[in-house]
């Protein structure tokens, strides 16, 4: 029987699961990924709705299981209507799960983002946990609160919720702990949670970014034209900088960013050349303004990809911000070693699968 770990909670589940899967696979274990219910965020040309996070994990890990098995239920709009079909749904989930679990040592299950989801139709998270016979681990985000102790309240509330359905929360992982909370979380909050009989499986320090889109991801999101250096699209993009000031100040500004996407108008030759001097990951030219030839020459010399988009700077930056939180196969692989370092150092992964 495969050990099943059900990860519920706030932001960061997919990356955590990816890291754990990668770890288990590297140890030679047969690990599987299951996301029983997901939200439809993306519509394929074939009119099928998919959750891009699922695609990302499947492709990044090269999982053989089919999409339908990994993610059998995709919610598009209404859920109350599903009440009538509830048994069929439960059956689908069980069947898909069995296929995934077959021949596997461990299965990591990702829950729907909202913790109260599907209670109205009888498919609450605790009910799912029971169906899957899984160990439930709650992923808490430490950064979202000013009073870090509130995490304990949240754990207690959700414990009660699970107990109501005859299930229990087995453990907790505290994620994204800023440096100035770390001492308190380690010394006060975590022990308080353990006093409730809930194991703390890891305390993860805040890190700037554990996923970063690559330039090719950006090109897709922006639907951009690549003007130069089509072979350098694997650069990762960790920061977004807007160039709209005088060139003398621009240099100071651009220099501080690491692996940045510098966004500026295509007609700002002086700023573009200044930007290229600081060797960013990519330069994005807005307004559909094709740049001067001097810019193309410089870009080629420096080896920085140059993109052209029709939108204005504000829209471009908004889209780039969305892209930063996107999870794609390449964005996961880009930071693989960092993710694995987190798993190794800050998560008691051995105890997770006991």
């Amino acid at each position: 029987m495969a050990k099943t770990i059900f990860i519920i909670g706030e932001r960061g589940k997919t990356v955590l699961i990816y890291g754990l899967l990668k770890k288990f696979l590297s140890l030679g274990m047969k690990a599987g990924y299951f996301k029983p219910i997901s939200k439809a965020r993306y519509r394929l040309p074939s009119m099928k709705y998919v959750d891009p996070d699922v695609i990302a994990v499947k492709q990044a890990l090269n999982l053989e299981d089919s999409f339908e098995d990994i993610n059998p239920i995709i919610i598009t709009r209404n859920i109350l209507d599903l009440k009538s079909d509830i048994n069929a749904l439960r059956k689908r989930i069980e069947e898909a799960y069995n296929k995934i679990a077959q021949g596997r040592d461990v299965v990591l299950v990702e829950s729907y983002p909202n913790l109260e989801a599907m209670t109205s139709i009888g498919l609450a998270l605790p009910q799912l946990a029971k169906i899957l016979n899984a160990k439930t681990v709650f992923l808490l985000n430490a950064k979202d609160r000013d009073v870090v102790d509130e995490m304990v309240d949240k754990v207690i509330l959700h414990s009660c919720y699970f107990e109501h359905y005859g299930a229990k929360i087995d453990g907790v992982i505290i994620n994204n702990v800023p440096v100035y909370y770390f001492e308190r979380v380690e010394d006060v909050v975590a022990p308080e949670i353990e006093k409730l009989g809930i194991k703390v499986y890891g305390i993860i320090r805040e890190r700037v970014r554990l996923t970063a889109p690559t330039v090719s991801d950006i090109i897709e999101v922006l639907d951009a034209d690549v003007l130069e250096n089509k072979d350098k699209l694997n650069n990762i993009v960790e920061d977004i900088v807007i160039g709209a000031m005088a060139p003398s100040t621009a240099l100071r500004w651009f220099r501080r960013a690491v692996n940045a996407a510098i966004v500026t108008g295509g007609d700002r030759t002086d700023l573009i050349v200044m930007a290229l001097e600081t060797r960013p990951s990519v330069v994005v030219l807005t307004g559909g303004l094709y740049p001067d030839i001097g810019v193309l020459i410089k870009a080629r010399e420096v080896g920085t990809p140059l993109l052209l988009v029709p939108y204005d700077t504000y829209t471009t930056v908004e889209k780039l911000r969305e892209a930063q939180f996107m999870i794609t196969p390449s964005s996961l692989k880009a930071k693989e070693s960092d993710i694995l370092e987190v798993i190794e150092k800050e998560i008691k992964w051995k105890e997770l699968i006991q």
Partner: protein, 706 residues
């Protein structure tokens, strides 16, 4: 690649020239260039190369350069771009030393042109051929003589060398030069600067006995450091006068769009040129007026100028202009005054300017001019003439010529204001190398240039002396920087930056990073109260603006509370900033605030800045700039030239500040960024300077690395 003087001689004085791409068609460049070489009087062998011709202009045409029986020193290549690479291979096999490539269609064209230029240089390197251009007008040497260009020939020999990044500018100048009588020694059109660039030519021309002054029109500088180096050496022998295209922001955009290289401009350029000892002029008029003055006249030993005029008005204006341009209006010796009083009519003015009045003939001019030239308090003279009925312009011109010959060490410049009446006189002056201008302001400007050169020539020698600093710990500084880079940061946190400058002997206020309240209290106790707490975040430049600084904390409770408050403030006002903790710093007593900064300019390297600090810094912008590495003289000069110096010296009874400690810190900062060139930016702001003997302390330090 070093080019020894004798080597470049082969370029300017080749024994034989091959014109590859010579044409029979008079409308083609290939014909024009060949004709230029033939017509200019070149005495060496000329070999046209064109597979489709037998004879052009009476010369035998060869099918390829390889067929030429003799050695070929210089190849002028005019074939279309795609054919150039093969031609270069042939030149290589023929052991041609220099190639001037007129053809366009290389890097300036973008696209495949970039690749083509790269391959061109590969071939050139393979065979050791030095290349001028591509995409250039050509080169000219008036003494050889050789016109290997497609500009019109004007056979005016002189001492002016002109290196230009704009070919079209050159042709205009050459035609105009004939009209105004400017004589050149050598002219070079740089083109794309794919191989030989301004640095190579300046180095050569600095040693060239035929050149007395080097003029430059540049839009970009290929290697800023080398440029400063060769110019500062050339300046010791002859003036280097530069006009830069693209100095202003808008101009830079214009320049960029056709060179693709970054125009050097602004503060960095001025600092670099100062160190190089180059004269920067703002207009083409100035460029040529200065060039003529340098070519014809000696450098004055001082800046005291005498004006001799037959018209009061222009005399007064000129006097005003002298002061405006930073020249001194000479005070004559007693003997001169009494002499002039005795020899000139009573209405004449004898104190500077000497007004010989409207009815002066050549003889009165002679008296006045000789008197001022003999005066030991006069370093240079401007002679103004306006044609009245009795004026003798030509005779006066002859007088000026003779007297200048008699007293050749003091420069004489003339301004003959008029048209037809003075045209013959002007010819006489030009012939004898007395610079003559239509209006006195140009004469003043030219003379000011001569004086400025004298200052620069001395300046480059003063700044040679460097102070050696040995008590620095480079490896410690690098350690700190590497640690930050490992964490994927380019911006150092305050305590890290302070550690770096401390390792270079710069005194800092003790500072440590705390990641929790309890740690902050521990550190505060160790450092000693009172302390300051500041947010440690690479993303926040103005800490006080986001409530990230709390000062004068005197107890454990205050420190703990401050820690919490700062975190809360920063979370609210800068929610996206990444927080590494809070630094605790021991408070130091207030001193006079100054700023020391460094910015790495992409062209020239590190530019140092010194200025008045405090809350009005942004308002007054009282700053000075120099290019690193700093000499002792420059460090001192940086401070004394600011208005802040008055405050440091001691104003209204306040005791003098420890200026020597500031000089020390400037030198150490210069050494730090020179040793560790990956430091892209550095700011010590504020530096508290205490009374003389009490030193200074860096209270906040920022460092950004590449």
């Amino acid at each position: 690649m070093q080019t020894a003087k004798s080597d470049m001689d082969r370029l300017f004085k080749p024994r034989s020239v091959a014109v590859i791409g010579a044409s029979r068609d008079p409308k083609k460049l290939g014909f024009g260039i060949l004709k230029n070489i033939v017509d200019c009087g070149y005495k060496g062998s000329v070999y046209p190369v064109n597979p489709q011709a037998d004879q052009i202009l009476g010369l035998k045409v060869y099918k390829s350069v390889l067929e030429i029986p003799d050695e070929v020193d210089l190849a002028v290549i005019v074939v279309p771009a795609p054919a150039v690479l093969d031609v270069m291979e042939e030149c290589g096999k023929k052991s041609v030393k220099y190639a001037v490539i007129i053809s366009a269609g290389f890097k300036e064209a973008g696209g495949e042109g970039i690749e083509r230029e790269r391959r061109l240089i590969e071939i050139a390197k393979k065979y050791g051929i030095r290349v001028v251009g591509p995409n250039c007008l050509g080169i000219l040497d008036m003494y050889t003589p050789l016109n290997a260009s497609f500009a019109y020939w004007s056979n005016y020999k002189g001492g002016i060398a002109f290196i230009s990044q704009s070919g079209a500018l050159l042709s205009g100048i050459l035609d105009w030069a004939g009209k105004v009588g400017i004589g050149f020694s050598k002219i070079v059109s740089l083109g794309n600067k794919a191989d030989l660039n301004e640095v190579d030519f300046i180095e050569y021309l600095g040693e060239d006995p035929e050149t007395k002054v080097i003029l430059l029109y540049l839009e970009s500088i290929a290697d800023g450091r080398k440029f400063v180096d060769v110019v500062s050496r050339a300046t010791r022998k002859k003036p280097v006068v530069l006009i830069m295209g693209g100095i202003t922001e808008r101009g830079a955009r214009a320049a960029l769009s056709h060179t693709g290289a970054m125009a050097a401009g602004g503060v960095a350029l001025k600092a670099a040129l100062r160190k190089a000892g180059a004269l920067l002029v703002e207009t083409p008029t100035e460029l040529y007026d200065l060039a003529i003055a340098f070519d014809y006249q000696p450098i004055p030993l001082g800046s005291r100028v005498a004006v001799v005029t037959n018209a009061g008005g222009p005399g007064v204006i000129t006097t005003d202009l002298l002061t405006a341009r930073g020249l001194a209006v000479a005070e004559f010796a007693k003997e001169t005054i009494s002499y002039l009083k005795s020899k000139l009519p009573p209405m004449a003015a004898v104190y500077n300017p000497v007004d010989v009045i409207g009815d002066a003939r050549a003889d009165r001019y002679a008296v006045a001019l000789e008197a001022v030239l003999r005066d030991p308090n006069v370093d240079g003279v401007i002679v103004i003439l306006t044609p009245q009925i009795v004026t003798e312009p030509e005779e006066t011109a002859k007088v000026i010529v003779e007297l200048h010959r008699k007293y050749p060490t003091k420069p004489v410049l003339a301004s003959f204001i008029g048209g037809e009446k003075v045209s013959k006189a002007i010819e006489i002056l030009k012939e004898s190398k007395i610079p003559v201008y239509e209006f006195p302001d140009r004469a003043v400007m030219a003379l000011a240039g001569l004086c400025r050169y004298r200052e620069l020539r001395e300046y480059v020698l003063k700044i040679v002396e460097h102070v050696e600093l040995f008590d620095v710990d480079r490896s410690r500084a690098l350690e700190v920087i590497e640690e930050a880079k490992k964490q994927n940061r380019r911006v150092l946190l305050e305590h890290e930056a302070k550690e770096v400058v401390k390792s270079y002997g710069i005194p800092v206020a003790p500072t440590k990073l705390a990641t929790s309240e309890s740690e902050a209290v521990e550190i505060a106790r160790k450092l000693g109260y009172p302390v300051v707490l500041k947010i440690a975040s690479p993303d926040i430049t103005h800490k006080s603006d986001v409530g990230g600084v709390l000062v004068n904390l005197k107890s454990d409770e205050e420190v703990a509370e401050a820690f919490r408050t700062i975190i809360l403030n920063v979370r609210r006002y800068a929610p996206t900033a990444s927080i590494h903790g809070v630094v605790v710093q021991r408070m130091v007593p207030m001193g006079r605030e100054v700023i020391i900064g460094v910015t790495k300019d992409p062209t020239f390297g590190h530019i140092m800045m010194f200025g008045l600090g405090g809350i009005y810094t942004e308002l007054f912008k009282d700053v000075s700039f120099r290019l690193a590495p700093l000499s002792l003289y420059e460090a001192r000069e940086m401070i004394t030239e600011t208005k802040a110096y008055a405050l440091l010296k001691g104003f209204r009874g306040a005791p003098p500040a420890d200026i020597n400690s500031v000089i020390n810190i400037l030198l150490r900062t210069s050494k730090l960024v020179t040793d560790i060139s990956q430091i892209a930016e550095m700011d010590i702001n504020p530096l508290f300077v205490y009374e003389e003997g009490m030193g200074s302390i860096a209270v906040d330090v920022k460092i950004v690395v590449e």
